[in-house]
C-alpha cells in the first residue's frame, strides 16, 4: 500500500507550480506538506488523488487505495448526519458508521440535519467520512480548518489510530498535530521555475 511519487510536476491553470517532487508514503506513515499559500499543496494533493493529470512524473499507488478530503466536506444540508455518513459508507461498500460517529463525537448530533451544524461540526462530519471509506491512504487538505482544540485532538487521535492500523496519510496543514511519527515535507523547495515564454503562450491558448 505504498504510494510512490516520482519526479512529479503539477500544474495549476496551465502553469507548473511544483516540479521534480519525489517521495514515498509507506504504511503507518504520515507526511505533512508545508509551504506558503499558493505554493501548490492543494494542487499536489489533487494530482496525487487523480483528480487532475500531472504534467510530468508519476504517482504509483495500488488501485482504489486513496480517499481525498478537500476544502469542501461534500455534505448535503438536507440530509441528517447519519444519512450523510451512511451514503458515503455505501458508496465505498462499507458497513457500520458507529465507530466513525464515536471517533468524532458526533453521536449526539446523528439525527440533526447537516445544514444545522456549525462549521466545526461540519468539518468533524467531513473527517468522519474518511473513517467510513475504509481506504488506507488519506489525502487531506487543511483538515483542521475551523476545528477547536478538542476537535483537533480527536482528529490527531483518529490519524494515530489510522496509522497504527497500517494506514497512511498525506496532509497539508499549518498547525502542529502532535504526531511524533509525522514527517514534514517542505514543498517550497520544489517550487517550479518561472514559466518560459513558450509555456506562457500555452496558458492563453
Amino acid at each position: 500500500m505504498t504510494v510512490h511519487v516520482s519526479d512529479l510536476t503539477v500544474t495549476r491553470g496551465g502553469v507548473a507550480v511544483l516540479e521534480g517532487l519525489s517521495f514515498a508514503l509507506r504504511p503507518g506513515e504520515a507526511v505533512v506538506l508545508r509551504g506558503p499559500n499558493g505554493i501548490g499543496k492543494t494542487t499536489l494533493l489533487r494530482t496525487v488523488a487523480g483528480l487532475q493529470p500531472a504534467r510530468a512524473g508519476r504517482v504509483e499507488a495500488p488501485p482504489e487505495s486513496m480517499v481525498y478530503a478537500g476544502h469542501a466536506d461534500g455534505l448535503k444540508a438536507t440530509l441528517t448526519v447519519s444519512e450523510n455518513l451512511t451514503f458515503w459508507a455505501r458508496v465505498f461498500g462499507q458497513g457500520a458508521i458507529g465507530p466513525a460517529l464515536d471517533a468524532f463525537e458526533l453521536c449526539p448530533l446523528a439525527d440533526r440535519q447537516a445544514g444545522a451544524l456549525s462549521a466545526g461540526q461540519k468539518r468533524r462530519l467531513g473527517l468522519a467520512r474518511l473513517l467510513v471509506t475504509g481506504r488506507p491512504v488519506w489525502l487531506l487538505d487543511e483538515p483542521t480548518v475551523s476545528l477547536d482544540v478538542d476537535a483537533v485532538a480527536l482528529f490527531a487521535d483518529a490519524v494515530r489510530a489510522h496509522l497504527a492500523g497500517g494506514g497512511s496519510a498525506l496532509m497539508a496543514t499549518h498547525i502542529d498535530l502532535g504526531l511524533a511519527e509525522a514527517r514534514v515535507l517542505d514543498v517550497a523547495a520544489f517550487r517550479a521555475a518561472a514559466p518560459d515564454a513558450e509555456d506562457f503562450d500555452e496558458v492563453f491558448l
Binding site: 489533487r46 493529470p53 476544502h71 461534500g74 465505498f92
Partner: protein, 218 residues
Amino acid sequence: MIALLTRDLRLAVRAGGGFGLGLAFFLIVVVLVPFGVGPETALLGTIAPGILWLGALLACLLSLDRIFALDWEDGSLDLLATAPLPMEAVVSVKALAHWLTTGLPLVLATPLFALLLSLPGAGYGPLVLSLLLGTPALSVIGTFGAALTVGIKRGGLLLSLLVLPLYVPTLIFGAEMARRGAEGLDTTTPLLMLAGISCGTIALLPFASAAVLRVNLR
C-alpha cells in the same frame, strides 16, 4: 450506485425543487396557452400535442442545472470522482434520478394537462407513450449539458443554449408521434425513431458526459 440514486431522490424530495417546480411550470404553460391563442376547442386540439411536448421539454430544462451544480458546490463531486464508482455510473445514475424526479411526473401528469387543451380522445395513448419514450433522452442529453457547464457561474443560460438544439430530434419525432396519434394516423415510424434516439443517447452519452466531467473537475 443504488446509494447514490436513493440519496439524489431523497434530496429532490426534501429540498422541494425537483418534483414540484417542473410540474408547476408545465401546468402554467398549459394554462397560459388558451389565453394566448383563444379558447377555440378545435384549434387547441390541433396544437395540443406540440404544446404539451414543448411544455414538457421546457419543464425538463428548468431543473437541469441542478444535476451537478449542487454536488460541485459542496465538494461531493470531487469526492464521488475519487470514490470506487466509475464516473459513467455516476452520470447515468444522475440522469436516472433526474428522469425519476422530473420526466416521470411529467409523463404521469400529461393526460390531465391534455384535458385542459382538449386533446382528441385518440391522442392520449400515443402522447403518453411518446413522452415516456422521449423524456429519458431529454434527461440524458440534459445531463451531458449539465456536465459541460458544471463549475461555470450562472451557467444556466449557457446550458439552455447548448441543450435546446440537441433536443430538436427528440422534439420532432415526439411531437410528430403525438400529432399523428391525435389525428388517428399510424405512429409506427416516429415511434421507432423516438425509441432509437432514446436508446442511442442512453447508450452513448454517459461516456461523453463522464469524459467532460473529468476534464471540468481538473
